[in-house]
Symmetry: C2
Subunit: 305 residues, 2 copies
């Protein structure tokens, strides 16, 4: 099973017997409440709102969003709201977390706390699903947001995070392309050396439930014709499900190329913690915010099953 | 003056009183002769062919391309052909070089030779013009092909190469975006530190005839709305003419994103030597090869004037 587009993902989530519960930290924010509205109307999520209750109520009225009083926690202090959101996950009162009006670092602090947090022992990474204008299925790009210059072991964690997330969505054996500027291992380009190491780990069974290819250039990963011309024979060539970038500089430019240059749609969240964590930013489109909620709901459902 | 699209560039070159002379090294190659055909028919170039004359003649017949005998040099050995091409430039018998059937390193060896080569003292860099589906003008991306991990001084050279090339095309003061994952200078991200240094060099007048901005993210460089949301005020925001990438990993992914994900058109060559050097690869489209000849002809004309 692979997802062809976001429409398939939305249909899948709408078919679930019940909505997932999203715990929103610092929910007293107009953009956040607005983003929740459509997903609630579609029966995809039930919001659990933590934050400044006066503001929350104001925006709930403005956007005509109905949330029962027992799902609103009045915690005006932002850091306390983040802590409370994590507690609510521990208490089983939510399926995933969404960041409201606070800095990313603020919501992450209680998440990464060794004793009371939501860590799994692995690094956390940013998982982004992209719907591209000319590709035959959704494409994951990772990590363009969390790990800046991951080590080899951290890249392995990022792959594991990604594979686990895709399995929760129903994928059986995703194809991972560890991209670099060239396809040959060149000691002068550490990105190619590590891409090959990841492939070898996969061949030795140290990275499971996926096919890892690398080093592989982006065109070969996405375009079978380019692969054929260059004589690159691999099941990942022209059919990658996941692009693993070597660092945040590459990941950021790839992500921005997709959204700004190619006008693709995207949805994303942080994976590697016990539950997904959505970071929507003010510059994200309403569509991106909605799709991120859909994606997190889908993964939460998969993790439960 | 800025170029809106390739159509403008083609029209400009077609209006020149006479074609430019392209010296092709190892021209006994079907794809190369095929690529020359359209540019010759359009009156843009006159080919000077160096290589295995038997093969050259065979493909000239096949593609019905007429080249006078005094413009064909029978030099079957590939390395000798590269040397001969450089000699012909020194003798004033050509305006720029195009690589035929040989490795990039082979054509570069005689070009970079300190005594007999075509060096200018600056590094050579890859200049690519991209025609994007949703941008209001052509965009230069550099360097995705020559310099792997340029130092700060080399990045300065790359900017100077690029500005000089754009001036030859008629640009007055191009806007250069030194892209990074974030807009703030962060010592943990050397890319942001160097982007800022380049901006400071520009402000101090050490990099001239252009506006350098950095660190700046790709979305802010290309999308005014993203810049406004993030409160980034700069003449380069949403209006960049040039994207300077920090290294080849970023440049390669950006280039492949443009051609494979966004299906943009591109044309490119190596700049920083005394004349442009075109590297067409077999996987390049016929359109890319044609446009690269057009671009080199335009720049050659500008350099002469």
């Amino acid at each position: 099973m692979v997802l062809k587009n976001f429409e398939e993902l939305v249909a899948k989530v709408k078919s679930f017997p019940e909505p997932k519960r999203v715990v929103v930290a610092a929910a007293g924010d107009e953009h956040t409440i607005e983003a929740l509205k459509e997903a609630v109307d579609d029966g995809i999520v039930i919001p659990v709102l933590v934050g400044d209750k006066a503001k929350i109520d104001e925006y709930l009225v403005k956007y005509n969003l109905n949330v029962t009083q027992d799902c609103i926690y009045d915690v005006p202090d932002v850091d306390e709201a983040a802590k409370k959101a994590v507690e609510l996950i521990h208490e089983g009162k939510g399926d995933f977390i969404m960041k409201g009006k606070m800095e990313t670092a603020q919501v992450l602090r209680p998440v990464v706390n060794k004793e009371t947090g939501l860590g799994t022992g692995r690094v956390m990474s940013h998982f982004v699903f992209d719907e591209l204008p000319y590709y035959h299925k959704l494409l994951v790009t990772t990590d363009g947001g969390m790990m800046t210059y991951p080590t080899l072991e951290q890249k392995k964690d990022i792959i594991n995070n990604t594979v686990e997330t895709l399995k929760a969505l129903g994928y059986e054996c995703p194809k991972i392309a560890c991209v670099a500027a060239i396809e040959k291992v060149n000691p002068k380009m550490p990105e190619t050396v590590e891409a090959n190491e990841l492939k070898q780990m996969n061949l030795r069974g140290e990275i499971k439930d996926c096919i890892v290819e690398g080093p592989i250039s982006l065109d070969i990963a996405l375009d079978k014709e380019a692969a054929d011309i260059k004589g690159f024979d691999s099941p990942v060539a022209g059919d990658a499900d996941v692009i693993l970038v070597p660092n945040i500089q590459v990941g950021n430019v790839l992500g921005k190329s997709i959204t700004v240059i190619a006008k693709g749609n995207m949805a994303g969240f942080v994976v590697g913690a016990k539950v997904p964590i959505i970071f929507t930013s003010r510059s994200s489109s309403a569509r991106e915010k909605y799709l991120s909620l859909v994606l997190a709901a889908a993964v939460s459902a998969g993790n439960r099953n």
